[in-house]
Symmetry: C4
């Protein structure tokens, strides 16, 4: 197991650089985690450490109750929410949390992002939904994420007054969903500033989603 | 032919870095292609590969039906649209596709960008037009691009609910058109947020366009 | 004392790079200072020197009246305001001043930023308040800062028609407050462009603030 | 004279990197020039060359009629406007032209930027004025710049439907004015999106302007 954990520590560490590069985070406000294949464990960012100082070794390992199993640092303060998702959505292999600006602005109004872009139909299969307001400290945030995303096509949820949680088959897919969520959140925001975007027919949304999930990229099958 | 293809693979690969640098793309969402001089072939980005991992060798070569002729990867999922443009617009040597934020916002509302900037008159010779909504999977997108741009001064079209396609005499010119399209899309958007921009007289637009296309830069003749 | 001053010169110099990286400053318009531990002195940016040219040696040392004590350059033109804060808020170990875009826009309207984000409750414990309009040249700015922040949870104040001053237990904490101030200023601005953000209950704001100030990060106690 | 010209070529070349770094330009759309001290000559960017490819040697030297005197490239297509300014404003040692987004948006509406920020009072001494619509090809643009800026405190003018021209005692000061122009154009735009900024009393604008022009920075006297 050690090799798989080491490899995941490196992957999860490196993916935090994508949060910075894609302008999804300020200071230490976002985090990435990945499930250890074949084990009831996940690797997550340590709490309050700046992105420049992250190393594979500084990543911490937790069990699915969010209890620290291995690592020199305290785990991210969002660990309980990540753990709840892994416990309750067995198909999820990666979780990302950000306060990215435009997505968080929709979350602050408690408004779902309507599916008016083909790129949104591709990645989200419809609107990006809103989850409940929840305080940190117990399972509330985790329950809100799972309650909103379980059975929904969208891999991202806008938690009210808070920010984005995204999921994926692995940590990289969850980061991609977080990047695309902010991208479409901004584009639809800008579109609506000067009028109403034209809707896309639900049948067209379905058609775009099916093709993208099944035929896009170098691999033809994408689990989620 | 091999040398010309190798050189084009390098050029097309490098131009993807301009999409990133000019903030036109998120994740893997944009692509550049270039026509092989003197052959019914073009070079295009492979599908779903991230910009950091692109190398000249990973670029793929397709014929004008969009069929893979040479390359280790599957071609971009937008290959059919690029191929249709090359088949039907013999003067076009480069095609670019992006979902750049501000241009895509105009596309989401189905609204052409009015020509209220001298830089727009220079590059686009008038408004940037809107093309039809079209699903991926057949010739619809290609037909929409060609039907809108053929005979139009603008080298860029805003495809409804989708994004931008731009053309040029070569891949670099098409990238320039994509960069300028987003630049003016943003400036005119910002201008309209607080009132109405002043129009430019059509005769002045013509005068600016003629001068820029014929006298600007180090070369005095610019084919398109 | 020399070693402590040298170390602080380096720290304060390096923190100016965070202002640039987080897009808080244009040209030479922002500055950071830090109190010398155990002495009535602080280290601050020299006036009108560009961020690229800053070195630890170019940082200047002033006493709490803002008088230059050591350094080859004139101190920042905002030195009097920093000095006033250090004289009157003994718990403050760092001060930052910026004209960051979104925060300054709220300041130009003389409007406090309402606490509608959990990240705002965490860092600011409520709204970010507005301070008075004050001319440079005497104690007016310093008095405005202290009069607004003393006894307030927020470590940042929006000085009318001017910009942001932020404070912290050390220079790094004050920089963090300046970064988070601009981040939430932008997010709340964007949210309000398309409607009204939902408020957070005062009891929830208190709960978030208490947890973040006492339990977040690797250290469990945070002085301010 | 050769040494002075060589030094200026290097300085003007390097200053173009500031246009890029401060996000003032797209593709090749902005340019910087500097007057050769003690000669009726100025150094300017070559036409249509991308910023990455600029070298001190590629900069061109023109006389005050805008005629190429030395250089392997054609001078910028904006050379006539720069030349007109140097001919008619003997105190000007540097000129910059950009289409920076927010400033150009004000120019597209033909609206001056009101002085509602202390940083604006410092640098511009009041509003940033609007100049006339003018076509390229004769002295119209130059006359519009000089007619607007001569006798005005502002070192920047918003040319209608076009962009910004800024001036300074040397090329660096003109670049600073261009950077600050875009910075305040954006901040005041953002402020006005959600209401009206509070005005600054004219006497306070005068006081801020006088202090900044005479006491700020390491040198106490600033010519313009």
């Amino acid at each position: 197991m050690t090799d798989a954990v080491d490899e995941l520590r490196r992957a999860v560490c490196d993916l935090h650089a994508e949060l910075v590069r894609n302008d999804l985070v300020a200071w230490t406000s976002g985090n990435v985690s990945g499930r250890v294949p074949g084990a009831d464990l996940f690797v997550i960012k340590p709490s309050g450490v700046s992105y420049d100082d992250l190393t594979p070794e500084s990543m911490v390992v937790c069990d699915l109750d969010g209890t620290l199993v291995d690592g020199r640092h305290a785990p991210s303060s969002d660990t309980d929410a990540h753990a709840y998702v892994y416990r309750n959505m067995p198909g999820v292999g990666g979780v990302v949390h950000t306060h990215s600006t435009y997505a968080t602005a929709w979350a602050a109004r408690g408004e779902a992002i309507p599916c008016v872009l083909t790129a949104m139909a591709d990645e989200f299969g419809g609107e990006i939904p809103v989850g409940p307001f929840a305080l940190i400290g117990d399972d509330s945030i985790g329950r809100g994420i799972v309650g909103t995303l379980d059975g929904h096509r969208s891999p991202a949820v806008l938690m009210r007054n808070h920010g984005v949680f995204s999921i994926g088959k692995d940590a990289r897919a969850a980061v991609k969903a977080a990047v695309m969520c902010e991208d479409v959140a901004k584009t639809v925001h800008v579109a609506r500033q000067l009028g109403e975007p034209e809707p896309i027919e639900p049948a067209d949304v379905d058609s775009l989603y099916d093709r993208y999930q099944n035929a896009y990229g170098q691999a033809t099958a994408r689990a989620r």
